[in-house]
């Protein structure tokens, strides 16, 4: 009896001994791994996942988000309900907020944030996304204009290059305002991160996929913009998301002219010369680029010396400027002229590109130049002057009614050609107002209209009337 008992015990003990021998009793500190961030993929299934917090955006209804135990997807116990206010709701103008965790999560094993959603009426949600952590939001992804209707539908937000999200705190954010002044409700359920292998054909883009070109100078910084990517979803349809620059790697074809940092900020460091800025997302070349044509060090227009008391200034850093409606009216459909105004060494400069004609308007109020004698404009044509190039300056007076039209407007044009026109050197136009023959009066000037042929782009500075 005792022998048998002893045999069993020894058998058990020998097994334990062997197990202990195999697994080792000593803790080897060298084998300890650094604490890693949790990989929990759940955001909201039947309740908020552990460690999840919510914060409403400023100006939004703070209580817009709540848990709903009746309207849920499938037989889930609870969903998140969002109540968008009517316009002029004293509690807030819209519904919006961030779901974030106190401790970052390691999302590198997931390729998408997915959730089920529906709304009380067909509606477009202004923006949803992830990666907003109420701070740097380094890896923010935003989906504009998400359509929802009254049926539950599964939504997928693809995550490019998830390896970057090793400690992400921003799980989900949203923002949506009333429609035609009226509020509504929407619900979200079963929100989680998933490792879907059925998202395909990532098409990254910078500058919205366009090939852009800019003339600029050493010292100027230009941010890469229009950063987005398209994806083909598991149902074979395409979707576009906007991305923070941190998902991309940027390069410059000529770092002696322009460099670009990891956040996509282009800094022009030299010139004259050209650099092409391109980007990649997860090894895939992005469509779109920026060609920087650097002129080198910026040479500013001569600083005006006319006594300020004798000046009515529309645009200058040397004088106080009168109110101007706009420096580019974008007069569709025939105007091609675009603006690319910049600041160099503290000097603000107007830049016009793709030039055919452009209007500068100053009608609220109009300008009384009756006592003035000249219109001055500094102009720099950025390329060598084409043969036959013309630059016309038209002054428009709005007449006694001080408004466009009404039968009392008048205008006159002065035309310049070579040799007054030169390329790549500041031209100081000093136009006697009497040269504008045909102007019925100068007491209600409202517009300067510039028109040209053979001139593609130019800078303008120091636009003023003086005596």
């Amino acid at each position: 009896m005792i022998t048998k008992y002893f045999t069993s015990i020894s058998r058990i003990m020998s097994v334990i001994a062997i197990v202990l021998f195999v697994s080792g009793c000593e803790r080897d500190v060298a084998d300890l791994q650094p604490a890693s961030y949790p990989t929990n993929p759940e955001v909201f299934i039947d309740g908020f996942s552990s460690g999840l917090n919510y914060a409403a955006f400023g100006g939004s209804v703070p209580t817009a988000c709540d848990v709903d135990k009746e309207v849920t997807y499938g037989n889930s116990a609870a969903s998140m309900r969002f109540e968008v206010p009517d316009a002029n709701d004293p509690r807030g103008a819209y519904a919006g907020g961030v779901f974030y965790t106190s401790v970052g999560r390691n999302l590198s094993g997931y390729t998408a944030l997915t959730f089920w959603a529906k709304a009380s009426q067909p509606v477009t949600i202004d923006v949803v996304g992830l990666g907003n952590d109420l701070g740097a939001s380094t890896y923010q992804i935003s989906v504009p204009a998400l359509p929802m209707n009254t049926n539950w539908k599964k939504y997928i937000i693809p995550i490019p290059d998830p390896g970057r999200l090793s400690a992400e705190r921003g799980m989900f954010y949203y923002s949506v305002g009333p429609v035609d002044g009226k509020g509504f409700t929407f619900w979200i359920d079963n929100m989680q991160f998933e490792k879907l292998t059925t998202i395909a054909y990532a098409t990254p883009a910078i500058f919205s996929g366009e090939t852009r070109s800019v003339n600029s100078f050493a010292g100027i910084s230009i941010p890469v913009e229009g950063i987005s990517a398209g994806f083909n979803l598991p149902d074979g349809t395409n979707m576009q998301v906007n991305l923070s620059s941190s998902y991309f790697t940027f390069s410059s074809s000529n770092e002696a002219i322009a460099t670009v940092d990891s956040k996509g900020l282009v800094t022009i460091v030299g010139g004259p010369g050209t650099a092409v800025i391109t980007a990649k997302m997860q090894g895939v070349a992005a469509s779109g680029s920026l060609t920087v044509i650097s002129e080198g060090v910026y040479v500013n227009a001569p600083v005006p010396t006319v006594n300020a008391a004798n000046v009515i200034s529309l645009f200058s850093d040397a004088y106080e400027n009168v109110p101007v409606d706009y420096y580019n009216g974008y007069w569709a459909p025939y105007q091609t002229t675009l603006s690319a105004d910049f600041e160099a060494n503290g000097d603000h400069v107007l830049q016009y590109t793709d030039f055919n004609f452009v209007g500068i308007q100053f009608s609220t109020p109009t300008i009384n130049a009756s006592t003035m004698t000249h219109l001055h404009m500094d102009c720099y044509i950025t390329s060598a002057l084409a043969g036959g190039a013309q630059f016309k300056v038209q002054l428009v007076d709005f007449g006694a009614d001080g408004a466009y039209g009404g039968g009392d407007d008048s205008n006159a044009t002065v035309t310049f050609t070579s040799p007054t026109l030169v390329g790549q050197s500041w031209i100081g136009f000093e136009i006697p107002l009497n040269n504008f023959s045909g102007l019925a009066g100068k007491a209600h000037l409202g517009q300067i209209i510039l028109e040209g042929t053979g001139i593609s782009s130019f800078y303008l500075d120091n636009i003023y009337f003086h005596k």
């Binding site: 020894s10 062997i18 059925t198 395909a200 149902d235 074979g236 349809t237």
Partner: protein, 276 residues
């Protein structure tokens, strides 16, 4: 006594070692063990040729037009023999392209009717499918006596069909008398990772007097045995091959404004084998 205790201890060591080593390896065997066969290549097309060429006229004919009410399925496309819809790409592939213009669609359907048919054997194609709601590519076989016996009496073996709104799932199916259309004998196969449009996959059937086996990348996902078919077994005559991309129809539903067009099916090769 002592000996017995030593044996007991040794027994305990062996048992515990076995227990510890078997703990990690609990997953079932993922490799199928199928009997090896000796296949002899009988007919093939590797689609080598210059870009823009139509497929070899000695091997393929065309189904043209809109068939009978959209080829019996309310399909939307008009099949053509225009190289825009079907041609070699100069890189060893045949490309069948579905093109949208306004509200109408063109595409292509090629077959070996009257040129090649075989009873039994292995029929295989390596291809990438199109994708998007409403796209319906297929690699399939029809019984040679279709003109005299009609359908479904002639029998149909669908080696691969896909619904573009689920680009990671294909179906292998047979249609015959008593089990056709909505009552066909069908089984789906979903890729564990990825989609059928982003990479080449090999679709095949191995067919003999008693059964039809369906494969994706040499994984047997569907076996239809003759004795399990509740209806007439009509697979005892030569069948010819068909490759096509349909748009819309009762199997797949309609393309939507979100379906990216044009869409392509890219076929690396088609091969037919006989048992050696």
């Amino acid at each position: 006594m002592k000996t017995k205790n030593n044996n007991t201890l040794w027994h305990a060591i062996v048992v515990s070692m076995l227990f510890l080593t078997t703990l990690p390896g609990c997953t079932p065997d993922e490799n199928q063990q199928l009997p090896s066969r000796n296949w002899q290549l009988v007919w093939s097309d590797d689609f080598n040729g210059t870009a823009g060429q139509l497929p070899d006229a000695a091997k393929w004919g065309f189904d043209l037009g809109t068939g009978d009410g959209g080829w019996g399925n309310q399909e939307l496309q008009n099949y053509s023999n225009n190289p825009n819809n079907v041609s070699l790409d100069g890189e060893g592939n045949l490309v069948i392209k579905a093109i949208q213009s306004g509200n109408s669609f063109t595409s292509a359907r090629i077959n070996t009717k009257g040129l090649f048919a075989q009873q039994y054997g292995r029929f295989e194609a390596r291809l990438k499918t199109p994708y998007g709601p409403g796209l319906w590519p297929a690699f399939w076989l029809l019984g040679e006596n279709i003109d005299t016996e009609g359908w479904p009496q002639c029998g149909e073996i669908d080696i691969m069909e896909l619904r573009g709104q689920q680009p990671d799932v294909i179906h292998g199916t047979i249609h015959g008398p008593g089990y056709s259309g909505g009552n066909s004998i069908t089984k789906g196969y979903a890729l564990p990772n990825g989609r059928f449009d982003t990479n080449y996959h090999i679709f095949a059937v191995e067919w003999d007097a008693d059964k039809i086996d369906f494969f994706v990348d040499d994984f047997l996902y569907h076996r239809i045995a003759k004795e399990d078919v509740k209806g007439q077994w009509v697979y005892n005559q030569p069948f010819y091959l068909i490759l096509n991309v349909a748009v819309g129809g009762t199997y797949v539903g309609f393309p939507t404004s979100q379906t990216p067009f044009p869409q392509v099916m890219v076929v690396d090769y088609v091969k037919v084998y006989k048992k050696g």
